[in-house]
């Protein structure tokens, strides 16, 4: 949400502003439902009641520079007055290369009006360097504006720049900050990139696995948290590496699958633990067992079947329990009779075509890749 925006709410609904999911979409202002109006709030929420630059004695020596849209502007823009004025003054100090406390303050005001303007951010960095400002103060400023702009690329990058300069001492604060961001949106892609960078460059791995536990406890479907878990078990210098933790991680994933078999993430995580070797994975009796449970238990067995299929085409030999479970599902679905149980992989593909019709072409293709031994 940009500073200074108010959204007119309908009488009967709650605010339905939703941040866009794609990082690239972050360029665009926060979505509003069609039919809602928006109005720009004329109050400067950061600094209190706003005084125009033209009335500020400390700016009396500056001649503001208007936006140059060229001789034949493609776009005729009618800006709001305070935005215009602030940017005109910004352009003046930018072109003059003025790196003073007042121009630093000016960039703060410009950022408050439009935190997406990357040129303002870059000039601010030049001023911060020139004035040798205590960057811990800068982090405080960042904390203030970040809550309303969680997906703004410039803010995250500026934060990264500060943290890099402060060094290892910034680690804890940055981990706390991203944790706060995740309390609002646990899948914020920018925040995850930042957190990974902090861990890799500044440290702080001690509590990361248990933080993943926490997030997955809140939402077992949080793919970002699953990705972070994989990041931790493979890259943390404190856990001993994938081979050491594989067993306990398999147990963790199985628990998650049992809670929600239709959840894509723990299945992918399991495959990752075994570096996509499906046969080794299904050879693990705990995994085979969770597949069987999924087949017998209900309708969310697409991922289980996909894994079994992968294993079958790699010479996995299912036991009778698993074969029985597959056959039970097959008969329950009113599918054409198939003669022998040596066509198990084909049966699995037929089931998948039927229960996951949106990917029917994919399952049909899978059928064509079944080697003759697996048939």
């Amino acid at each position: 949400m940009l500073m200074g925006l108010k959204v007119l709410e309908s009488e009967n609904e709650n605010k339905q502003i939703e941040n866009l999911r794609s990082p690239t979409c972050s360029y665009i202002i926060t979505r509003k439902k069609r039919g809602f109006g928006i109005t720009m709030d004329s109050e400067d929420e950061v600094n209190g009641k706003r005084v125009p630059f033209s009335n500020r004695p400390e700016w009396a020596d500056i001649k503001p520079v208007p936006q140059d849209d060229g001789p034949n502007p493609v776009v005729m823009i009618d800006y709001k007055h305070e935005f215009v004025e602030t940017m005109d003054y910004f352009r003046a100090v930018y072109l003059a290369g003025e790196r003073t406390p007042r121009s630093l303050d000016l960039t703060r005001e410009a950022i408050s009006l439009n935190p997406g303007n990357y040129t303002v951010w870059q000039f601010r960095r030049l001023i911060l360097e020139h004035l040798n400002v205590d960057l811990h103060d800068e982090l405080q400023f960042m904390d203030q504006i970040a809550t309303k702009n969680p997906k703004n690329y410039q803010i995250w990058h500026h934060r990264r720049w500060i943290a890099e300069k402060i060094g290892v001492g910034a680690a804890q604060k940055e981990l706390e900050f991203t944790r706060t961001t995740f309390s609002q949106d646990a899948k914020n892609y920018h925040a995850w990139s930042h957190r990974q960078w902090v861990l890799l460059n500044l440290g702080g791995w001690e509590d990361e696995l248990s933080y993943c536990d926490e997030l997955l406890n809140d939402d077992i479907c949080n793919n970002s948290a699953w990705n972070q878990r994989f990041f931790v078990v493979t890259k943390s210098p404190l856990l001993g590496g994938l081979d050491v933790v594989r067993d306990s991680e398999v147990m963790f994933s199985i628990k998650a699958i049992l809670a929600k078999p239709g959840n894509e993430s723990p299945w992918r995580y399991l495959r990752g633990l075994y570096q996509n070797n499906a046969k080794s994975l299904v050879d693990d009796p705990r995994v085979a067992s969770v597949c069987i449970e999924g087949l017998l238990g209900g309708s969310q067995y697409v991922h289980a079947l996909n894994l079994i299929l992968d294993a079958l085409v790699h010479q996995f030999r299912p036991n009778n329990d698993l074969k029985g479970a597959i056959e039970a599902v097959y008969s329950s679905l009113d599918l054409p009779d198939l003669a022998t149980d040596s066509e198990l992989a084909v049966r699995v593909c037929c089931i998948l075509e039927k229960v996951d019709p949106i990917r029917a072409s994919y399952w049909q293709w899978r059928k064509t890749t079944i080697p003759s031994q697996a048939l």
């Binding site: 979505r31 439902k33 720009m40 800006y79 293709w365």
Partner: protein
């Protein structure tokens, strides 16, 4: 099935370019070059590019160029590869690439490659696989790929590949359809698609299609029209487009139109913008919706524009 309201979308885009009081224009002033690319490429796809005065656009674009050779998002803005690519792409639409000092632009982009093969967006050093794609796409369009270390660039991209076959923005970053498009596009342009596990990635991408027919960008996220581009173009580049349900996706995109006022939004009934209008229509073009110019999935430009650059030089 619904209809694509081509006339309404053309009117919407032309109006956005000219609107005086539009709040979106005000706060997106710094990325107007991106907006120009989204709007003008859409107009070209629907056969209405001649509604725009190309001389005006071209002269404005050239004023966005900085002395470094890179382009800013608008006049007076610092250079960045994001806007440099858009500048090149829009000039390509108008067949005006020859006004560029190609050497100068290429040198700017090449200067942003780091030792590990990754690319920064500008002198401030943000690293992201988006910038790898942008650098490679820009230089290829300018016939200047030899200015960078392509092998290192490819190596870095592959280091961002995850065990699920997808790609993130940095090594270890979560697989995300937007980043996947960038990595696959870069590998396609440099002739390295054979290094991908296309079946594994194709499956991950096909799993982005949700019940309503739309595509999301990561597991358990909501569908969004822009993924009609990121996911679809990736699937086409790896020859796995048939793994999704095309008619259902077409219907989802059409449902995201504002049929009264034109424009397309991220999902049905949300507010429209030029960005989603472009990606929705580009997605429909990839799905061979009738009446639309074909678009190249790697260069994100109409095929005839790409052919003009590569086949006639």
């Amino acid at each position: 099935m619904g209809e694509l309201e081509v006339e309404k979308h053309a009117k919407y885009i032309l109006a956005v370019e000219k609107k005086k009081d539009d709040f979106q224009s005000v706060v997106m002033e710094h990325l107007r070059l991106n907006g120009a690319y989204w709007g003008l490429t859409t107009l070209d796809i629907i056969g209405k590019l001649d509604a725009v005065n190309s001389d005006d656009v071209v002269s404005w674009i050239m004023q966005c160029q900085d002395e470094s050779g890179g382009f800013g998002g608008n006049i007076g803005h610092d250079p960045h590869v994001l806007y440099t690519l858009s500048a090149i792409q829009v000039l390509a639409l108008f067949n005006k690439l020859d006004i560029l000092d190609t050497e100068k632009v290429a040198n700017y982009i090449a200067s942003l490659q780091a030792d590990d093969g990754s690319f920064a967006g500008d002198i401030w050093g943000e690293i992201d696989t988006r910038f790898s794609y942008i650098a490679i796409c820009s230089l290829a369009l300018l016939h200047q790929l030899d200015k960078i270390n392509v092998e290192k660039a490819v190596k870095y991209i592959l280091s961002c590949q995850n065990v699920d076959g997808g790609f993130g923005c940095i090594p270890g970053g979560e697989s995300h359809a937007g980043q996947i498009f960038c990595c696959v596009g870069a590998l396609a342009i440099t002739g390295h698609l054979h290094l991908l596990d296309k079946d594994l990635l194709g499956w991950w991408l096909s799993e982005r299609q949700v019940k309503c027919g739309g595509l999301n960008g990561r597991p358990e996220k909501l569908p969004d029209v822009c993924y009609s581009w990121w996911v679809l173009s990736s699937l086409i580049m790896i020859d796995r487009i048939h793994w999704i349900d095309k008619p259902k996706l077409v219907q989802f995109i059409l449902d995201c139109q504002d049929k009264e006022n034109g424009g397309i939004s991220d999902r049905p009934d949300d507010a429209v913008d030029v960005y989603h209008t472009y990606f929705g229509i580009a997605g429909l073009s990839l799905l061979e919706y009738p009446g639309l110019k074909p678009i190249d999935p790697a260069y994100a430009l109409p095929v005839d524009v790409v052919n003009r650059i590569f086949l006639s030089s």
